[in-house]
């Protein structure tokens, strides 16, 4: 891809055409806060926290850094007054919705927000969609999805019961930034209560420790079309 020249926070640099502002910023150690971004997933641009200001020919507009492709010469400001105001309000709105979520409280502290000016609720999910997207894009089983619409939007399994497609792999919990999705392992069973998942774990043929749900191993053998022996040893014991 051809290179183009852009100005970011006053500095003139060259980037490969099509690179996103966020990728460019990360490469150069410029901090842009994000919540719904994950390098292994397609940008979703739902939290809007990575909003930055771009201008060209005297006109400026606000765009999300995670998915804005740099295709022509423009100027990017990652920390202007306008950008800061937007970030603050987004965090304030999230703080009012999820006042007990650590990552939001941390961001609020960073921005000197003490109390939100809105009625506080008690949600633990910020609807970033990382769990849904991981389940769909990385794992590929699409066991959970966004349910409902608008202020009633939630993440859950179909009909809010145990999903037949779920392999209890825990990827959703792994990517969740708020801790709203917890994995519990007890007596050889893995539970992800939020998504009504409860699956027995297999023991490693070498060390005997529980390590993966049976359904996940079933699914992997089927998907990769490999013999089951390949999945009977835990990652620690694997040669």
């Amino acid at each position: 891809m051809p290179k183009i020249g852009i100005i970011i926070d006053g500095n003139r640099i060259e980037v490969e055409q099509g690179t996103t502002i966020l990728d460019t910023a990360k490469e150069r150690g410029i901090y842009i806060p994000t919540l719904c971004y994950h390098e292994s997933l397609e940008p979703y641009a739902a939290c809007r926290l990575c909003t930055v200001e771009v201008s060209r020919g005297g006109r400026s507009k606000m765009v999300t850094a995670c998915n804005y492709p740099l295709r022509e010469e423009i100027e990017v400001k990652t920390d202007s007054e306008r950008v800061r105001r937007i970030r603050r309000t987004i965090v304030e709105l999230l703080l009012a919705s999820c006042p007990n979520v650590k990552i939001i409280r941390d961001l609020a502290k960073e921005m000197d927000i003490e109390e939100p000016r809105f009625k506080k609720e008690e949600n633990d999910c910020i609807l970033c969609g990382l769990c849904v997207r991981a389940c769909s894009e990385i794992v590929g089983v699409e066991a959970i999805s966004f349910v409902g619409r608008g202020v009633d939007r939630e993440v859950d399994t179909p009909f809010r019961v145990t999903s037949e497609a779920c392999i209890c792999c825990g990827s959703c919990a792994y990517v969740c930034p708020t801790g709203a999705i917890e994995i519990e392992g007890k007596d050889g069973v893995r539970e992800i209560k939020k998504f009504h998942a409860s699956q027995p774990l297999e023991r490693c043929k070498v060390c005997g420790n529980y390590f993966a749900p049976r359904v996940q191993i079933d699914w992997m053998t089927k998907k990769l079309n490999l013999p089951r022996e390949n999945f009977e040893v835990c990652p620690t014991c694997k040669p």
Partner: protein, 152 residues
Amino acid sequence: MNFEKVEEILAKYGHKESQIIAILQETQTNYNYLPEEVLKYVSGRLNIPLARVYSVATFYKAFSLERRGKHVITVCLGTTCHVRGGRKILEKIERDLGIKAGETTQDFEFTLETVNCVGCCAIGPILIIDGNYFGEMDLEKLDTVLKKYSAG
């Protein structure tokens, strides 16, 4: 459960994922609502993950995953109907039937819904019962119309 009707509908729309809304809409007309088994059946036949079908069924306001009443009363709350007193009509029906918008009466006679504009703004407020449109609704006319449906 008999899925013959669903098969017919799926065939009518060529088993296309792009026609999911029309498929679910016709299915709902047939079964009165969208039962869980039917959604699972559609998911299987169209090879769409159930989570996606469920997401679609809960996103669009046209769909109901709960059994609805024999008669569906829809009150239009578009801007013009609102300016012309649509809200008062809704509130009167809510009081008379003892249910709120989105609910069904205990005897499953009536389901009350609202819609955000059906495009008959010149003759609002509009009331739709079982697909029949009633324009220029007022509190008096309302009594007459509701009585007709309560009887039959």
